[in-house]
Protein backbone atom coordinates (compact mmCIF):
# COMPACT_ATOMS: atom_id res chain seq x y z
CA UNK A 1 0.00 0.00 0.00
CA UNK A 2 2.72 2.40 1.03
CA UNK A 3 4.94 1.45 -1.89
CA UNK A 4 2.21 2.00 -4.50
CA UNK A 5 1.49 5.40 -2.90
CA UNK A 6 5.15 6.33 -3.16
CA UNK A 7 5.22 5.46 -6.84
CA UNK A 8 1.87 6.92 -7.80
CA UNK A 9 2.08 10.28 -6.00
CA UNK A 10 4.91 11.82 -8.05
CA UNK A 11 3.40 10.41 -11.24
CA UNK A 12 0.09 12.00 -10.37
CA UNK A 13 1.84 15.30 -9.75
CA UNK A 14 3.60 15.06 -13.13
CA UNK A 15 0.33 14.24 -14.86
CA UNK A 16 -1.41 17.13 -13.14
CA UNK A 17 1.36 19.47 -14.27
CA UNK A 18 1.07 18.44 -17.91
CA UNK A 19 -2.72 18.64 -17.77
CA UNK A 20 -2.52 22.18 -16.43
CA UNK A 21 0.13 23.12 -19.01
CA UNK A 22 -2.16 21.86 -21.79
CA UNK A 23 -5.14 23.76 -20.35
CA UNK A 24 -3.00 26.89 -20.20
CA UNK A 25 -1.91 26.60 -23.83
CA UNK A 26 -5.53 26.08 -24.94
CA UNK A 27 -6.78 29.00 -22.85
CA UNK A 28 -4.02 31.27 -24.14
CA UNK A 29 -5.81 31.63 -27.47
CA UNK A 30 -9.31 31.87 -26.07
CA UNK A 31 -11.03 35.20 -25.55
CA UNK A 32 -11.32 37.23 -23.37
CA UNK A 33 -7.65 37.66 -22.62
CA UNK A 34 -7.00 39.06 -19.11
CA UNK A 35 -5.02 42.14 -20.21
CA UNK A 36 -5.19 43.96 -16.90
CA UNK A 37 -3.97 40.95 -14.92
CA UNK A 38 -1.23 40.37 -17.51
CA UNK A 39 0.10 43.93 -17.19
CA UNK A 40 -0.12 43.85 -13.38
CA UNK A 41 1.70 40.52 -13.21
CA UNK A 42 4.38 41.65 -15.67
CA UNK A 43 5.05 44.66 -13.51
CA UNK A 44 5.00 42.50 -10.36
CA UNK A 45 7.49 39.94 -11.72
CA UNK A 46 9.71 42.69 -13.15
CA UNK A 47 9.69 44.51 -9.82
CA UNK A 48 10.75 41.49 -7.75
CA UNK A 49 13.40 40.37 -10.23
CA UNK A 50 15.03 43.64 -11.27
CA UNK A 51 17.28 44.17 -8.24
CA UNK A 52 18.35 40.48 -7.98
CA UNK A 53 19.22 40.61 -11.69
CA UNK A 54 21.57 43.54 -11.26
CA UNK A 55 23.14 42.12 -8.12
CA UNK A 56 23.53 38.57 -9.47
CA UNK A 57 24.82 39.29 -12.95
CA UNK A 58 27.74 41.43 -11.79
CA UNK A 59 29.46 38.87 -9.49
CA UNK A 60 28.80 36.02 -11.92
CA UNK A 61 30.34 37.81 -14.88
CA UNK A 62 33.21 39.27 -12.94
CA UNK A 63 34.02 35.75 -11.68
CA UNK A 64 33.90 34.33 -15.19
CA UNK A 65 35.97 37.17 -16.64
CA UNK A 66 38.47 36.88 -13.80
CA UNK A 67 38.87 33.12 -14.29
CA UNK A 68 39.27 33.63 -18.05
CA UNK A 69 41.76 36.45 -17.59
CA UNK A 70 44.00 34.38 -15.31
CA UNK A 71 44.24 31.95 -18.22
CA UNK A 72 44.71 34.62 -20.90
CA UNK A 73 47.36 36.53 -18.95
CA UNK A 74 49.27 33.24 -18.62
CA UNK A 75 49.15 32.84 -22.40
CA UNK A 76 50.12 36.49 -22.84
CA UNK A 77 46.84 37.16 -24.61
CA UNK A 78 45.11 39.49 -22.15
CA UNK A 79 43.89 41.63 -25.06
CA UNK A 80 41.43 38.87 -25.90
CA UNK A 81 39.66 39.13 -22.56
CA UNK A 82 36.76 40.87 -24.35
CA UNK A 83 36.30 37.69 -26.38
CA UNK A 84 36.15 35.60 -23.21
CA UNK A 85 33.78 38.04 -21.54
CA UNK A 86 31.27 38.12 -24.37
CA UNK A 87 31.55 34.37 -24.93
CA UNK A 88 30.90 33.60 -21.27
CA UNK A 89 28.20 36.21 -20.80
CA UNK A 90 26.12 35.67 -23.92
CA UNK A 91 26.43 31.89 -24.07
CA UNK A 92 26.35 30.76 -20.45
CA UNK A 93 26.41 33.33 -17.65
CA UNK A 94 23.57 35.35 -19.14
CA UNK A 95 21.14 32.43 -19.49
CA UNK A 96 22.18 30.91 -16.14
CA UNK A 97 21.72 34.16 -14.25
CA UNK A 98 18.37 34.55 -16.00
CA UNK A 99 17.46 31.06 -14.76
CA UNK A 100 18.44 31.94 -11.21
CA UNK A 101 16.49 35.20 -11.29
CA UNK A 102 13.41 33.90 -13.06
CA UNK A 103 13.18 30.75 -10.92
CA UNK A 104 14.60 32.10 -7.67
CA UNK A 105 12.91 35.51 -7.66
CA UNK A 106 10.00 35.59 -10.11
CA UNK A 107 8.64 32.05 -9.74
CA UNK A 108 8.90 32.00 -5.93
CA UNK A 109 7.02 35.28 -5.57
CA UNK A 110 4.39 34.10 -8.02
CA UNK A 111 3.97 30.74 -6.30
CA UNK A 112 3.71 32.37 -2.86
CA UNK A 113 1.03 34.76 -4.14
CA UNK A 114 -1.03 32.04 -5.88
CA UNK A 115 -0.52 29.63 -2.96
CA UNK A 116 -1.91 32.19 -0.51
CA UNK A 117 -5.00 32.57 -2.72
CA UNK A 118 -5.44 28.80 -2.92
CA UNK A 119 -5.17 28.47 0.87
CA UNK A 120 -7.92 31.09 1.31
CA UNK A 121 -10.12 29.14 -1.17
CA UNK A 122 -10.21 32.09 -3.56
CA UNK A 123 -9.74 29.79 -6.56
CA UNK A 124 -12.79 27.75 -5.60
CA UNK A 125 -14.72 30.99 -5.19
CA UNK A 126 -13.74 31.97 -8.73
CA UNK A 127 -14.92 28.60 -10.04
CA UNK A 128 -18.25 29.04 -8.23
CA UNK A 129 -18.70 32.40 -9.93
CA UNK A 130 -18.17 30.68 -13.28
CA UNK A 131 -14.70 32.14 -13.90
CA UNK A 132 -12.01 29.75 -15.09
CA UNK A 133 -8.99 30.35 -12.83
CA UNK A 134 -6.64 29.06 -15.52
CA UNK A 135 -7.86 31.67 -17.96
CA UNK A 136 -8.05 34.54 -15.49
CA UNK A 137 -5.01 33.81 -13.29
CA UNK A 138 -2.64 31.22 -14.78
CA UNK A 139 -2.47 32.36 -18.43
CA UNK A 140 -1.57 36.00 -17.63
CA UNK A 141 1.02 34.86 -15.08
CA UNK A 142 2.71 32.39 -17.42
CA UNK A 143 2.81 34.98 -20.21
CA UNK A 144 4.08 37.63 -17.80
CA UNK A 145 6.92 35.35 -16.67
CA UNK A 146 7.81 34.65 -20.32
CA UNK A 147 7.83 38.35 -21.25
CA UNK A 148 9.88 39.39 -18.25
CA UNK A 149 12.40 36.53 -18.74
CA UNK A 150 12.96 37.59 -22.36
CA UNK A 151 13.46 41.23 -21.37
CA UNK A 152 15.60 40.34 -18.35
CA UNK A 153 18.04 38.21 -20.32
CA UNK A 154 19.06 41.20 -22.44
CA UNK A 155 19.50 43.25 -19.27
CA UNK A 156 21.61 40.48 -17.71
CA UNK A 157 23.85 40.35 -20.76
CA UNK A 158 24.26 44.15 -20.89
CA UNK A 159 24.99 44.50 -17.18
CA UNK A 160 27.33 41.52 -17.33
CA UNK A 161 29.31 42.92 -20.26
CA UNK A 162 29.54 46.32 -18.59
CA UNK A 163 30.73 44.68 -15.36
CA UNK A 164 33.28 42.60 -17.25
CA UNK A 165 34.53 45.72 -19.06
CA UNK A 166 34.96 47.73 -15.86
CA UNK A 167 36.68 44.84 -14.10
CA UNK A 168 39.05 43.98 -16.96
CA UNK A 169 39.95 47.56 -17.85
CA UNK A 170 40.24 49.16 -14.44
CA UNK A 171 41.41 46.22 -12.30
CA UNK A 172 43.32 43.99 -14.69
CA UNK A 173 44.62 46.74 -16.98
CA UNK A 174 43.38 45.41 -20.31
CA UNK A 175 43.34 47.99 -23.13
CA UNK A 176 39.70 49.17 -23.48
CA UNK A 177 39.89 49.27 -27.29
CA UNK A 178 41.20 45.70 -27.46
CA UNK A 179 38.47 44.55 -25.08
CA UNK A 180 35.69 46.04 -27.23
CA UNK A 181 37.28 44.86 -30.48
CA UNK A 182 37.58 41.30 -29.17
CA UNK A 183 33.94 41.09 -28.08
CA UNK A 184 32.50 40.17 -31.46
CA UNK A 185 35.33 37.84 -32.46
CA UNK A 186 33.57 34.56 -31.67
CA UNK A 187 30.17 35.68 -30.42
CA UNK A 188 27.73 36.61 -33.14
CA UNK A 189 24.05 37.07 -33.89
CA UNK A 190 23.28 33.34 -33.69
CA UNK A 191 24.56 33.21 -30.09
CA UNK A 192 22.41 36.17 -29.09
CA UNK A 193 19.34 34.62 -30.73
CA UNK A 194 20.02 31.31 -28.92
CA UNK A 195 20.30 33.20 -25.63
CA UNK A 196 16.95 34.92 -26.22
CA UNK A 197 15.26 31.62 -27.16
CA UNK A 198 16.64 30.07 -23.98
CA UNK A 199 15.30 32.93 -21.87
CA UNK A 200 11.83 32.61 -23.42
CA UNK A 201 11.72 28.88 -22.69
CA UNK A 202 12.98 29.48 -19.13
CA UNK A 203 10.23 32.02 -18.44
CA UNK A 204 7.52 29.79 -19.88
CA UNK A 205 8.61 26.71 -17.93
CA UNK A 206 9.23 28.53 -14.65
CA UNK A 207 5.84 30.26 -14.94
CA UNK A 208 4.06 26.95 -15.56
CA UNK A 209 5.83 25.24 -12.64
CA UNK A 210 5.14 28.15 -10.28
CA UNK A 211 1.46 28.25 -11.24
CA UNK A 212 1.05 24.49 -10.89
CA UNK A 213 2.72 24.39 -7.46
CA UNK A 214 0.77 27.48 -6.38
CA UNK A 215 -2.64 26.17 -7.42
CA UNK A 216 -2.08 22.71 -5.90
CA UNK A 217 -1.06 23.91 -2.42
CA UNK A 218 -2.51 22.17 0.61
CA UNK A 219 -1.96 22.09 4.35
CA UNK A 220 -1.63 25.53 5.89
CA UNK A 221 1.51 27.65 6.38
CA UNK A 222 3.93 24.71 6.07
CA UNK A 223 2.21 23.77 2.79
CA UNK A 224 2.79 27.16 1.18
CA UNK A 225 6.42 27.20 2.32
CA UNK A 226 7.02 23.70 0.95
CA UNK A 227 5.30 24.58 -2.32
CA UNK A 228 7.63 27.54 -2.82
CA UNK A 229 10.62 25.36 -1.91
CA UNK A 230 9.57 22.72 -4.45
CA UNK A 231 8.99 25.41 -7.08
CA UNK A 232 12.60 26.55 -6.75
CA UNK A 233 13.98 23.02 -6.90
CA UNK A 234 11.86 21.80 -9.80
CA UNK A 235 12.31 24.93 -11.87
CA UNK A 236 16.10 24.90 -11.34
CA UNK A 237 16.21 21.26 -12.48
CA UNK A 238 13.98 21.87 -15.51
CA UNK A 239 15.78 25.05 -16.56
CA UNK A 240 19.30 23.60 -16.25
CA UNK A 241 18.26 20.68 -18.46
CA UNK A 242 16.68 23.04 -21.00
CA UNK A 243 19.89 25.08 -20.98
CA UNK A 244 22.07 22.08 -21.89
CA UNK A 245 19.70 20.88 -24.60
CA UNK A 246 19.22 24.29 -26.23
CA UNK A 247 22.98 24.93 -26.13
CA UNK A 248 23.65 21.63 -27.91
CA UNK A 249 20.88 22.21 -30.46
CA UNK A 250 22.08 25.78 -31.03
CA UNK A 251 25.55 24.50 -31.95
CA UNK A 252 24.04 21.96 -34.34
CA UNK A 253 21.95 24.60 -36.11
CA UNK A 254 24.62 27.33 -36.20
CA UNK A 255 28.02 25.65 -35.98
Amino acid sequence: MVSTGLVIKPLRGLGGFFAMALDTFVCMFRRPFAWREYLLQTWFVARVSLVPTLFLSIPFTVLTVFTFNVLLVEFGAADFSGTGASLGTVNQTGPIVTVLVVAGAGATAMCADLGARTIRDELDALRVMGINPIQSLVVPRVLAATTVALLLSSLVILVGLAGGFVFSVYFQHVTPGAFVAGMTLITGLSDVVTALIKATLFGLTAGLIACYMGTSVGGGPAGVGNAVNETVVFSFIALFVINVIVTAVGFQVHP
Binding site: P59, L63, A105, T108, P221, V224, N226, V233, I237, T247
Partner: protein, 285 residues
Protein backbone atom coordinates in the same frame (compact mmCIF):
# COMPACT_ATOMS: atom_id res chain seq x y z
CA UNK B 1 8.94 63.43 20.95
CA UNK B 2 6.77 66.49 20.34
CA UNK B 3 9.39 67.99 18.08
CA UNK B 4 9.42 64.77 16.03
CA UNK B 5 5.62 64.75 15.81
CA UNK B 6 5.59 68.40 14.75
CA UNK B 7 8.19 67.72 12.07
CA UNK B 8 6.13 64.76 10.84
CA UNK B 9 3.08 67.07 10.52
CA UNK B 10 5.05 69.81 8.78
CA UNK B 11 6.94 67.56 6.31
CA UNK B 12 4.91 64.37 5.89
CA UNK B 13 6.62 63.19 2.72
CA UNK B 14 10.17 63.73 3.93
CA UNK B 15 9.35 61.99 7.20
CA UNK B 16 7.93 59.01 5.33
CA UNK B 17 11.02 58.72 3.13
CA UNK B 18 13.25 58.99 6.17
CA UNK B 19 11.20 56.32 7.93
CA UNK B 20 11.73 53.91 5.00
CA UNK B 21 15.49 54.47 5.13
CA UNK B 22 15.54 54.08 8.90
CA UNK B 23 13.47 50.88 8.75
CA UNK B 24 15.94 49.41 6.26
CA UNK B 25 18.81 50.40 8.53
CA UNK B 26 17.14 48.80 11.57
CA UNK B 27 16.42 45.64 9.58
CA UNK B 28 20.07 45.42 8.60
CA UNK B 29 21.06 45.81 12.25
CA UNK B 30 18.54 43.21 13.36
CA UNK B 31 19.85 40.82 10.72
CA UNK B 32 23.46 41.32 11.82
CA UNK B 33 22.44 40.80 15.45
CA UNK B 34 20.66 37.55 14.54
CA UNK B 35 23.70 36.27 12.64
CA UNK B 36 25.99 37.10 15.55
CA UNK B 37 23.70 35.35 18.03
CA UNK B 38 23.38 32.31 15.80
CA UNK B 39 27.12 31.93 15.30
CA UNK B 40 27.82 32.39 19.01
CA UNK B 41 25.18 29.81 19.90
CA UNK B 42 26.65 27.14 17.60
CA UNK B 43 28.67 25.84 20.55
CA UNK B 44 25.50 25.51 22.63
CA UNK B 45 23.76 23.79 19.76
CA UNK B 46 26.52 21.19 19.36
CA UNK B 47 26.80 20.42 23.09
CA UNK B 48 23.15 20.69 24.20
CA UNK B 49 20.95 19.84 21.26
CA UNK B 50 22.89 16.87 19.90
CA UNK B 51 19.80 14.79 19.08
CA UNK B 52 18.22 17.64 17.10
CA UNK B 53 21.52 18.24 15.28
CA UNK B 54 21.77 14.60 14.20
CA UNK B 55 18.12 14.55 13.14
CA UNK B 56 18.70 17.68 11.04
CA UNK B 57 21.82 16.24 9.39
CA UNK B 58 19.82 13.20 8.34
CA UNK B 59 16.86 15.28 7.17
CA UNK B 60 19.04 17.73 5.22
CA UNK B 61 21.14 15.19 3.38
CA UNK B 62 18.06 13.27 2.27
CA UNK B 63 15.54 16.11 2.04
CA UNK B 64 11.97 16.33 3.29
CA UNK B 65 8.48 16.08 1.83
CA UNK B 66 8.03 15.59 -1.87
CA UNK B 67 11.76 16.12 -2.48
CA UNK B 68 12.53 12.70 -0.96
CA UNK B 69 10.67 11.09 -3.86
CA UNK B 70 13.16 12.40 -6.40
CA UNK B 71 16.15 11.38 -4.31
CA UNK B 72 16.65 14.18 -1.80
CA UNK B 73 19.19 16.97 -1.60
CA UNK B 74 22.17 14.88 -2.67
CA UNK B 75 20.46 13.69 -5.84
CA UNK B 76 19.30 17.20 -6.74
CA UNK B 77 22.78 18.68 -6.27
CA UNK B 78 24.27 15.82 -8.29
CA UNK B 79 21.73 16.35 -11.04
CA UNK B 80 22.35 20.09 -11.31
CA UNK B 81 26.13 19.67 -11.39
CA UNK B 82 25.73 16.86 -13.95
CA UNK B 83 23.92 19.28 -16.22
CA UNK B 84 26.50 22.05 -15.78
CA UNK B 85 29.31 19.53 -16.33
CA UNK B 86 27.63 18.49 -19.55
CA UNK B 87 27.53 22.17 -20.44
CA UNK B 88 31.34 22.27 -20.18
CA UNK B 89 31.49 19.42 -22.67
CA UNK B 90 29.02 20.98 -25.12
CA UNK B 91 30.22 24.57 -24.95
CA UNK B 92 33.91 23.76 -24.54
CA UNK B 93 34.09 21.16 -27.29
CA UNK B 94 32.29 23.29 -29.86
CA UNK B 95 34.18 26.46 -28.97
CA UNK B 96 37.58 24.73 -28.80
CA UNK B 97 37.12 22.83 -32.07
CA UNK B 98 36.56 26.21 -33.78
CA UNK B 99 40.16 27.03 -32.92
CA UNK B 100 41.35 23.45 -33.41
CA UNK B 101 42.35 22.76 -29.80
CA UNK B 102 39.52 20.41 -28.82
CA UNK B 103 42.15 18.18 -27.18
CA UNK B 104 42.30 20.73 -24.35
CA UNK B 105 38.72 20.09 -23.21
CA UNK B 106 40.07 17.96 -20.34
CA UNK B 107 41.93 21.03 -19.18
CA UNK B 108 38.73 23.12 -19.34
CA UNK B 109 36.95 20.57 -17.16
CA UNK B 110 39.74 20.51 -14.57
CA UNK B 111 40.07 24.32 -14.56
CA UNK B 112 36.55 25.78 -14.87
CA UNK B 113 34.69 23.02 -13.03
CA UNK B 114 36.85 23.28 -9.93
CA UNK B 115 37.24 27.05 -9.77
CA UNK B 116 33.93 28.34 -11.02
CA UNK B 117 31.17 26.01 -12.03
CA UNK B 118 31.01 23.36 -9.30
CA UNK B 119 31.09 25.82 -6.34
CA UNK B 120 28.50 28.15 -7.88
CA UNK B 121 26.17 25.36 -8.96
CA UNK B 122 26.45 23.58 -5.62
CA UNK B 123 25.73 26.86 -3.84
CA UNK B 124 22.64 27.48 -5.94
CA UNK B 125 21.44 23.93 -5.38
CA UNK B 126 22.01 24.15 -1.63
CA UNK B 127 20.12 27.45 -1.41
CA UNK B 128 17.20 25.92 -3.29
CA UNK B 129 17.02 22.66 -1.34
CA UNK B 130 18.43 22.83 2.19
CA UNK B 131 18.10 26.60 2.55
CA UNK B 132 14.58 27.09 1.24
CA UNK B 133 13.47 24.01 3.17
CA UNK B 134 14.82 25.51 6.41
CA UNK B 135 12.99 28.80 5.78
CA UNK B 136 9.75 26.95 5.09
CA UNK B 137 10.03 24.86 8.28
CA UNK B 138 11.07 27.66 10.64
CA UNK B 139 8.61 30.08 9.04
CA UNK B 140 5.73 27.64 9.55
CA UNK B 141 6.82 27.21 13.18
CA UNK B 142 6.86 31.00 13.65
CA UNK B 143 3.39 31.41 12.13
CA UNK B 144 1.85 28.67 14.28
CA UNK B 145 3.58 30.21 17.34
CA UNK B 146 5.70 27.13 17.99
CA UNK B 147 8.82 29.28 18.45
CA UNK B 148 7.15 31.20 21.30
CA UNK B 149 6.18 27.84 22.79
CA UNK B 150 9.83 26.73 22.65
CA UNK B 151 10.89 29.89 24.49
CA UNK B 152 8.23 29.29 27.15
CA UNK B 153 9.57 25.77 27.68
CA UNK B 154 13.01 27.27 28.34
CA UNK B 155 14.62 26.11 25.10
CA UNK B 156 16.87 28.70 23.43
CA UNK B 157 15.07 29.03 20.14
CA UNK B 158 17.97 30.60 18.20
CA UNK B 159 20.36 27.84 19.27
CA UNK B 160 17.78 25.09 18.84
CA UNK B 161 16.46 26.17 15.41
CA UNK B 162 19.07 28.35 13.71
CA UNK B 163 22.47 27.33 15.09
CA UNK B 164 21.72 23.62 14.75
CA UNK B 165 20.83 24.19 11.10
CA UNK B 166 24.01 26.16 10.42
CA UNK B 167 26.10 23.39 12.03
CA UNK B 168 24.19 20.70 10.17
CA UNK B 169 24.63 22.61 6.91
CA UNK B 170 28.41 22.67 7.38
CA UNK B 171 28.44 18.93 8.07
CA UNK B 172 26.15 18.07 5.17
CA UNK B 173 27.95 20.21 2.60
CA UNK B 174 31.11 18.06 2.72
CA UNK B 175 29.64 14.85 1.26
CA UNK B 176 27.22 16.80 -0.92
CA UNK B 177 30.05 18.84 -2.43
CA UNK B 178 32.08 15.66 -3.03
CA UNK B 179 29.15 14.31 -5.02
CA UNK B 180 28.83 17.64 -6.86
CA UNK B 181 32.47 17.73 -7.96
CA UNK B 182 32.46 14.08 -9.01
CA UNK B 183 29.22 14.58 -10.95
CA UNK B 184 30.57 17.59 -12.82
CA UNK B 185 33.82 15.76 -13.71
CA UNK B 186 31.90 12.70 -14.81
CA UNK B 187 29.44 14.64 -16.97
CA UNK B 188 32.21 16.59 -18.72
CA UNK B 189 34.20 13.41 -19.41
CA UNK B 190 31.18 11.39 -20.50
CA UNK B 191 29.89 14.15 -22.78
CA UNK B 192 33.29 14.68 -24.42
CA UNK B 193 34.33 11.07 -24.85
CA UNK B 194 30.93 9.49 -25.54
CA UNK B 195 28.94 12.10 -27.48
CA UNK B 196 31.76 14.02 -29.14
CA UNK B 197 33.92 10.89 -29.59
CA UNK B 198 37.17 12.22 -28.20
CA UNK B 199 39.58 9.47 -27.15
CA UNK B 200 39.59 8.94 -23.38
CA UNK B 201 43.38 8.92 -23.27
CA UNK B 202 43.67 12.46 -24.63
CA UNK B 203 40.96 13.70 -22.31
CA UNK B 204 42.44 12.05 -19.21
CA UNK B 205 45.95 13.25 -20.01
CA UNK B 206 45.03 16.94 -20.09
CA UNK B 207 42.52 16.54 -17.25
CA UNK B 208 45.01 15.03 -14.80
CA UNK B 209 47.83 17.33 -15.94
CA UNK B 210 45.87 20.42 -14.97
CA UNK B 211 43.87 19.08 -12.00
CA UNK B 212 45.46 20.72 -8.97
CA UNK B 213 44.93 19.50 -5.42
CA UNK B 214 45.30 22.99 -3.96
CA UNK B 215 42.53 24.31 -6.20
CA UNK B 216 40.27 21.44 -5.15
CA UNK B 217 40.87 22.14 -1.47
CA UNK B 218 40.16 25.85 -1.97
CA UNK B 219 37.00 24.98 -3.82
CA UNK B 220 35.90 22.93 -0.78
CA UNK B 221 36.60 25.98 1.38
CA UNK B 222 34.38 28.03 -0.94
CA UNK B 223 31.58 25.49 -0.56
CA UNK B 224 31.88 25.57 3.24
CA UNK B 225 31.74 29.37 3.37
CA UNK B 226 28.74 29.36 1.08
CA UNK B 227 26.95 26.78 3.26
CA UNK B 228 27.37 28.98 6.34
CA UNK B 229 26.17 32.12 4.54
CA UNK B 230 23.20 30.38 2.93
CA UNK B 231 22.03 28.75 6.16
CA UNK B 232 22.35 32.03 8.10
CA UNK B 233 20.28 33.97 5.56
CA UNK B 234 17.62 31.30 5.26
CA UNK B 235 17.19 30.76 9.00
CA UNK B 236 16.90 34.54 9.51
CA UNK B 237 14.07 34.90 7.00
CA UNK B 238 12.26 31.88 8.46
CA UNK B 239 12.72 33.10 12.03
CA UNK B 240 11.25 36.53 11.22
CA UNK B 241 8.38 35.39 8.96
CA UNK B 242 5.10 37.25 9.50
CA UNK B 243 1.68 37.43 7.91
CA UNK B 244 0.05 34.00 7.90
CA UNK B 245 0.46 31.23 5.32
CA UNK B 246 1.16 33.75 2.55
CA UNK B 247 3.92 35.25 4.69
CA UNK B 248 5.79 31.93 4.83
CA UNK B 249 5.76 31.66 1.06
CA UNK B 250 6.96 35.24 0.67
CA UNK B 251 9.69 34.68 3.26
CA UNK B 252 10.94 31.65 1.31
CA UNK B 253 11.03 33.67 -1.91
CA UNK B 254 12.81 36.60 -0.29
CA UNK B 255 15.31 34.26 1.40
CA UNK B 256 16.16 32.54 -1.90
CA UNK B 257 16.73 35.91 -3.61
CA UNK B 258 18.93 37.25 -0.80
CA UNK B 259 20.97 34.09 -0.32
CA UNK B 260 21.67 33.69 -4.05
CA UNK B 261 23.02 37.23 -4.17
CA UNK B 262 25.02 36.96 -0.93
CA UNK B 263 26.45 33.57 -1.85
CA UNK B 264 27.64 34.72 -5.27
CA UNK B 265 29.15 37.93 -3.88
CA UNK B 266 30.93 35.92 -1.17
CA UNK B 267 32.25 33.46 -3.76
CA UNK B 268 33.51 36.37 -5.85
CA UNK B 269 35.43 37.96 -3.01
CA UNK B 270 36.79 34.71 -1.62
CA UNK B 271 38.03 33.59 -5.03
CA UNK B 272 39.56 37.01 -5.69
CA UNK B 273 41.34 36.60 -2.37
CA UNK B 274 42.49 33.05 -3.17
CA UNK B 275 43.56 33.36 -6.78
CA UNK B 276 44.40 37.07 -6.68
CA UNK B 277 46.61 38.53 -9.39
CA UNK B 278 49.02 35.61 -9.70
CA UNK B 279 46.25 33.14 -10.39
CA UNK B 280 47.85 29.97 -8.96
CA UNK B 281 48.13 28.72 -12.47
CA UNK B 282 51.07 27.25 -14.28
CA UNK B 283 50.83 26.29 -17.91
CA UNK B 284 54.25 24.69 -17.76
CA UNK B 285 52.82 22.16 -15.28
Amino acid sequence: MSAGAAAAQRFPRVTKRLQVVLDGWYRLGGQAEFYGKTLVAVGDAVTRYKAELIRLIAAMSLGTGALVMIGGTTAIVAFLTLSTGALVAVQGYNQFSDVGVEALIGFASAYFNVRLIAPLTAGVAMAATIGAGATAQIGAMRISEEIDALEVMGIRSVAYLASTRVAAGVVVVVPVYCVAVMASFFAARFGTTFFYRQSTGVYDHYFYTFLSTTDLLWSFALALVMAVVIMLVHTYYGYTATGGPAGVGEAVGRAVRTSLITASVVVLFVSLAIYGQTGHFNLAG
